[in-house]
C-alpha cells in the first residue's frame, strides 16, 4: 500500500477559510441557511466550517446538524459494508431552509444521493447545496456535482482517499492510498 499526502496542515485551514468566504458570498449572514454534516466522516468538516463562519460573522449562531444516511444507502445487502448507523442530530426545522450538505470526499455521488433522500424525511428545504473538501473528479456514477470544492483530485478507482482531522486526535491531512504497483 502506497501513501501519498496530497493536502495537509496550513493548506487545509486556508481552504476552509476560503470555502467559508464563498459560502458567505451566497448566503449572506446565514439567517435562513443551515449546515448539515454527513455521518460519519463529514461531521468534522461541518464542525470546522461552523466554527470558522461564527468567527467571521462575529459569533452569530449558525445552525448545524449531523445526518446519518445508513438506512438510505443503495448498496444494502449488495456488499459487506457498514450496516451500523450513526446518530442523527438535527434539532431544528429544515422546511423552507437553505441547506449546505457537507462531506469530506465526493467520489461516486451515491452517498450524496442517499443524503438528499435522508434529508427530505425532515421536511422540504428551499434549496440544497453541496460542499466537499475533496472532489475526486471524473468518477461520478450519478449526475451530482458540488457547489463548493476544497480541492479537486484525479484518482484511479482502485485508489482510496482518506481524510483525517485534528478534532479526532489525528492531524489535518488528506492521504491518497494506492495498491502497490
Amino acid at each position: 500500500m502506497q501513501k501519498k499526502t496530497i493536502f495537509d496542515g496550513q493548506k487545509i485551514q486556508i481552504t476552509i477559510k476560503r470555502l467559508c468566504r464563498q459560502l458567505i458570498e451566497n448566503h449572506d449572514d446565514f439567517a435562513n441557511t443551515v449546515l448539515i454534516g454527513i455521518q460519519p466522516r463529514g461531521i468534522f468538516l461541518a464542525d470546522r466550517i461552523q466554527t470558522e463562519l461564527q468567527s467571521i460573522l462575529k459569533n452569530k449562531k449558525i445552525l448545524k446538524g449531523n445526518l446519518d444516511i445508513t438506512f438510505f444507502r443503495d448498496d444494502f445487502r449488495r456488499k459487506d459494508g457498514l450496516v451500523t448507523a450513526s446518530s442523527n442530530s438535527i434539532d431544528f426545522i429544515i422546511e423552507g431552509k437553505k441547506v449546505i450538505l457537507i462531506d469530506d470526499v465526493l467520489w461516486t455521488g451515491r452517498t450524496i444521493r442517499a443524503a438528499m433522500d435522508a434529508l427530505l424525511a425532515y421536511g422540504r428545504p428551499e434549496k440544497v447545496e453541496l460542499l466537499v473538501l475533496i472532489d475526486r473528479r471524473f468518477s461520478r456514477h450519478l449526475p451530482i456535482e458540488p457547489n463548493y470544492i476544497g480541492l479537486q483530485v484525479d484518482s484511479l478507482n482502485s485508489q482510496h482517499v482518506k481524510v483525517s482531522w485534528a478534532d479526532e486526535g489525528a492531524e489535518d491531512k488528506v492521504i491518497l492510498l494506492s495498491e502497490k504497483q
Partner: protein, 309 residues
C-alpha cells in the same frame, strides 16, 4: 462498541444469540427510535424485501408492531392468519410455508402454538425466520423490547433486579426475558403461586419467591405477566379473584414499598387481575413505552437480519 453483524441468520430465541448481538440490536433500535419520531417515519432500507407475517395464533400488539416495523423499513408485507386459511383444511406447516415461499418471500415472521415451530421451519426452508412466539417456549422480540425499555428508563440493565410475576409456567415471555436479562447482567426473580412456577426453574439461575410484597421490595423493576387462561386446561388457582388478591399489584401496595419501582406488562392487560387500572396508568408504569420501543426493536431485528440475507 457492539459487533457489526448478528451471529445468527434467524431470530428463533434469545437462547441462540449472545450479548454482543443484543447490544447491536439495542444500538440499531436507538437509531430507529429517532426515525419513527420524525415527521416522515419511513426509511427505504428493505425496499427489495418481502416479508410474510404468518400467525397461527391470535395477536394484536405483536402483529401490528411487526407490520408497522416492516412498513417503516419499506418492505413488502403479506399477512396470513391461520384461522382464515387452508390450515383449517388440514395443510401441514411446511406445505403452508413452502407455498408462501414459492411466491418469493425473503423473510417469515411466525407465531405458532407449538414450541420449536420456528426452529423446525428454519431447518426446512430457505427464508430467514423471526420467531414471534412459539407456544410456551420463546418470544425473543418481546424480551428484547422489555430489556430495551429497562435500559432506556434506568440507563443500564446490568446490575438491576427484575422480578417477573405471574404465570411463569405458560409464559414464553418469561423464559425469553430471563435469558435476555441474564445475558445483560441483571438479577432475575420469579414470583407466583407454586402451581404456576415450573419445578426446575431455579436451574436457570433465577430466584424464586412466593410472596409478592417481598419480591417487590427486592426489585427495581416488576414485570407483571398476564394470566393465560387460554393455555390453562386445568385449574391452577381457586379463582381469579383470589389470584388478584395474592398476586395482583395495586396502588396501595406500590405506594407502600420502600422504593419507587418500575412496572411493566407485556400486554394484553387483564385490568384488575395482574394489575389494577390505577397502577397500569400510573407514572411508574412504562407499558406504553414498551409498545413504542417494540416497533423500534423489531425494525432493528429485521434490518440486521436482512443485512446478512
Amino acid at each position: 462498541m457492539a459487533a457489526e453483524k448478528l451471529s445468527t441468520r434467524h431470530l428463533l430465541g434469545i437462547k441462540d444469540i449472545n450479548r454482543n448481538d443484543i447490544e447491536l440490536i439495542f444500538e440499531t433500535a436507538d437509531n430507529f427510535k429517532e426515525v419513527i419520531n420524525r415527521p416522515i417515519k419511513k426509511v427505504p432500507s428493505l425496499r427489495d424485501i418481502t416479508i410474510a407475517n404468518i400467525f397461527f395464533e391470535n395477536s394484536t400488539r405483536t402483529k401490528l408492531s411487526f407490520e408497522l416495523a416492516e412498513k417503516r423499513l419499506s418492505a413488502d408485507v403479506v399477512n396470513f392468519a391461520a384461522s382464515s386459511s387452508s390450515v383449517s383444511k388440514g395443510e401441514t406447516l411446511i406445505d403452508t410455508v413452502n407455498n408462501i415461499l414459492s411466491m418469493k418471500v425473503d423473510m417469515v415472521v411466525m407465531r405458532h402454538p407449538y414450541a420449536g415451530a420456528g426452529q423446525f421451519l428454519s431447518r426446512h426452508v430457505k427464508a430467514q425466520i423471526v420467531n414471534a412466539g412459539d407456544g410456551a417456549h420463546e418470544h425473543p422480540t418481546q424480551a428484547l423490547l422489555d430489556a430495551f425499555s429497562i435500559r432506556q428508563k434506568l440507563g443500564d440493565v446490568a446490575g438491576k433486579k427484575v422480578v417477573i410475576v405471574g404465570d411463569i409456567l405458560h409464559s414464553r415471555v418469561a423464559i425469553s426475558n430471563i435469558l435476555c436479562l441474564q445475558r445483560l447482567g441483571a438479577e432475575v426473580m420469579v414470583c407466583g403461586p407454586t402451581t404456576l412456577i415450573p419445578k426446575h426453574i431455579h436451574q436457570l439461575g433465577v430466584k424464586v419467591e412466593h410472596n409478592l410484597i417481598k419480591a417487590l421490595n427486592w426489585c427495581d423493576v416488576a414485570n407483571m405477566l398476564r394470566i393465560q387462561l387460554e393455555r390453562q386446561d386445568i385449574k391452577y388457582f381457586p379463582s381469579l379473584r383470589e389470584y388478584a388478591m395474592m398476586y395482583g399489584l395495586n396502588k396501595h401496595i406500590l405506594d407502600n414499598l420502600d422504593k419507587e419501582i418500575i412496572v411493566m406488562h407485556p400486554g394484553p392487560i387483564n385490568r384488575g387481575v395482574e394489575i389494577t387500572s390505577d397502577v397500569a396508568d400510573s407514572k411508574q408504569s412504562i407499558i406504553l413505552e414498551q409498545v413504542e420501543n417494540g416497533v423500534a426493536i423489531r425494525m432493528a431485528v429485521l434490518y440486521l437480519l436482512a443485512s446478512q440475507g
